[in-house]
């Protein structure tokens, strides 16, 4: 079993003190970021990105992954206690989590959500190990036309699935591609859309885009809410023993096991993220339940399922990011961007040439999920006090951190103006309900997208049929078309049904 050997090697990497320390810190930060309403893993990782430049790449990735699934653990805390999802993917945890708190079962709710998150994460990590190498081998067969087709699929799927608004998703994607057009064209040396500005010749760093859209844009949006008194609800601070009974465990086990594969698969697919995974598994449980009337009134399995699903989804999303270089979600796109900054090519060779990174990250998923679970069970009572930090203090701090984070990338103040610009754009996009994930994804893969397109045409001498020559690229392109057509068709069908 070569795989086990690799994995053991990965564990050795994880238990290097500095890596282990950052892993723990990442789980903690992720939990906190996930807990705070309005701050998600994407914002958290974006803010932390500049900090990771001084780390070794494997440490950086381990930390980022930890923040990602840590946030899935934390997101449910505020869903359960306040009925405010700490993060989009914790929406479904409100449905039954908050009623449980009202019934006086807050301890059980906190416990089962941490346990479900842990189980979802653990099983997905095993699936990750089994699938990583085969997927990476498939990626070896990819040439420029296949990569182009894969990116078309990733972009269209993200655009069409993000929030059920295909046109706005595509618009967001186009904006991201536009950002990646700025700068010197790597193939011909022609400068494009730089407006004669020397600083723009190197292109716009997507870290600036990410921090602008997710960091500053989020702050602008939240400025509207401050003072509306949303956070005045008192938080329960004293807890009994955070644990569950045998009967509650029995009730939740099967739903958790059902929700995990759902979440994992949705995570691998580009586009659909934790929110969809959690909602879908919630609906599945409700439909399969013998007593669906209990759902929404504090059914423990209605909390266990989405919690397992969103954790499984976050780990699923990391899989294609590392093996294919195609991120499964907005947050994963940021991680892909980070990989590229470290000068690493995600994909099959990552596991071969840099086993400390590939397998270190894989092993960290196991250890990290364990740490996050421990953190969220006995320490839950302490951690939720962070929810008491008033946003009035939090958002000024985040604003300041956005600026200093951007400064760390290029040590240039020009990026400050870009940051403000993208912050405003992010705010406008939220106002007009334009999804932001497609733009982030497009701005990260945009350059590669164009290059793979032009390289393919160079190989074929300008013949477009090269995109339809291999079975892989044809399949991917058909899937891309389907991903665009499906929401429109299904919406039209539903409309018909409603009209009748």
């Amino acid at each position: 079993m070569a795989m086990l050997e690799y994995l053991m090697y990965g564990f050795k990497v994880v238990f290097i003190p500095s890596n282990f320390l950052w892993l723990t810190l990442g789980c903690f930060l992720g939990t906190v970021i996930g807990m705070l309403p309005g701050l998600g893993p994407a914002t958290g990782i974006a803010l932390l990105l500049p900090l990771t430049f001084v780390m070794k790449p494997e440490t950086a990735l381990i930390t980022m992954c930890a923040i990602f699934y840590g946030a899935m653990f934390g997101g449910s805390r505020s869903s359960i206690l306040l009925n405010i999802p700490g993060d989009g993917s914790a929406v479904a945890s409100c449905f039954d989590g908050y009623p449980m708190t009202l019934k006086g079962e807050a301890e059980v709710a906190l416990a089962i959500s941490a346990i479900a998150s842990f189980i979802g994460g653990l099983i997905s990590s095993i699936a990750f190990v089994l699938l990583a190498l085969p997927l990476a081998k498939i990626a070896l067969m990819f040439g420029p036309p296949e990569y182009f087709a894969l990116m078309v699929l990733a972009l269209t799927a993200t655009a069409s699935m993000s929030e059920g608004k295909v046109l706005k998703g595509l618009l967001s994607m186009a904006l991201g591609l536009m950002v990646s057009m700025v700068g010197l064209d790597p193939q011909s040396g022609v400068s494009r859309f730089t407006f004669g500005n020397l600083e723009l010749q190197g292109g716009i760093d997507f870290v600036v885009v990410i921090i602008g859209i997710y960091g500053l844009g989020e702050v602008f949006k939240n400025l509207e809410k401050i003072g509306r008194g949303e956070m005045l609800q008192p938080i329960k601070k004293k807890f009994g023993k955070i644990w569950i009974t045998k009967e509650q465990w029995k009730r939740s086990l099967v739903p958790m096991l059902r929700a995990t594969p759902i979440g994992f698969l949705i995570g691998i697919l580009p586009g659909a993220g934790g929110t969809i995974a959690a909602l879908m598994s919630y609906n599945v449980e409700k439909r399969l339940s013998k007593e669906p009337e209990r759902f929404g009134k504090g059914a423990i399995e209605g909390l266990a399922a989405p919690e397992a699903a969103n954790n499984a989804c976050s780990i699923g999303a990391i899989l294609p990011t590392l093996t294919l270089g195609i991120p499964g979600s907005g947050t994963a796109a940021i991680m892909l961007g980070a990989l590229m900054i470290y000068g690493l090519q995600p994909g099959p060779l990552l596991f071969e040439f840099y086993p400390e990174i590939g397998w270190g990250v894989v092993a960290s998923l196991f250890v990290g999920n364990f740490i996050a679970a421990v953190m969220n069970l006995p320490l839950a009572g302490l951690l939720v006090r962070i929810l008491a930090i008033p946003p009035k203090i939090l958002y000024p701090l985040i604003t300041a951190l956005c600026f200093i984070g951007v400064y760390a990338i290029n040590l240039s103040v020009v990026d400050f103006y870009l940051l403000i610009l993208f912050g405003l754009l992010g705010y406008a996009m939220r106002k007009f309900e334009i999804p932001t994930a497609p733009m982030i994804l497009a701005s990260v893969v945009g350059r590669k997208f164009e290059q793979s397109f032009r390289q393919s045409l160079m190989i074929s001498g300008g013949d477009f049929s090269i995109f339809f020559k291999s079975a892989i690229s044809v399949t991917l392109l058909i899937l891309a078309v389907l991903s665009l057509v499906y929401p429109t068709v299904s919406a039209a069908l539903k409309k018909k049904r409603h009209a009748v």
Binding site: V54, E163, G164, K165, L167, K168, L170, L171, A174, L177, M178, M181, D185, Q187, S188, G189, V190, S191, R192, F193, L216, V219, F220, L223, E224, I226, P390, K392, I393, Y395, P396, L397, T399, A400, F403, I404, Y407, A408, L411, V413, F416, Y417, I420, G423, L424, Y427, F432, E450, F453, R454, G462, P487, A491, K494, K495, H498, A499
Partner: protein
């Protein structure tokens, strides 16, 4: 249109576009056209296919214009009114924060990181947290500024202005 189509039961995707989207889609359409023209006027490549660097932006511009056009069509069908948000007070607050940000960018290199960051964060905190809690605001600002400065200068070995 009957009542049902604006009913609460309709999924989000079916609700059509709010009226404010008319302006948005018109802007997108206009922008797409301008971008297409700008793409066509890009310099040609000195080596290889002269149109090489032009194709992609050109298609992108046309694509944006097409999206704008389709959105316009959809938004013209929209019929339900926006519940107008009382945006006045937030607008002023956001503009103030924006002004602070620009001022920070202008000050940063001139008066240095320590001083500009302290002023920036204090200003934000006073705006949002109120002047009454000045002691808390100033202590947070000092802690943040010195903490970040220490992290950059001593740990990352990055020089701040």
């Amino acid at each position: 249109m009957n009542e049902r189509s604006r009913g609460v039961t309709a999924p989000r995707a079916l609700e059509g576009f709010p009226v404010k989207d008319r302006y948005l889609s018109a802007a997108v359409l206009g922008f797409g056209i301008i971008y297409t023209i700008a793409a066509w006027n890009l310099p040609r490549a000195p080596v290889g296919n002269p149109l090489g660097p032009v194709y992609f932006p050109l298609v992108l511009g046309l694509f944006i214009a097409l999206i704008g056009f389709l959105m316009l069509l959809q938004s013209l069908k929209a019929h339900h009114e926006e519940h107008a948000a009382k945006s006045g007070r937030y607008a002023i607050r956001i503009l103030t924060v924006l002004a602070f940000c620009v001022a920070y960018a202008l000050m940063f290199n001139r008066i240095g990181f320590l001083f500009s960051s302290f002023v920036f964060l204090s200003a934000l905190l006073i705006l949002l947290n109120g002047f009454k809690k000045w002691l808390m605001n100033f202590s947070i600002s000092i802690l943040y500024t010195v903490g970040i400065w220490y992290l950059f200068e001593k740990v990352f070995l990055i020089n701040l202005p």
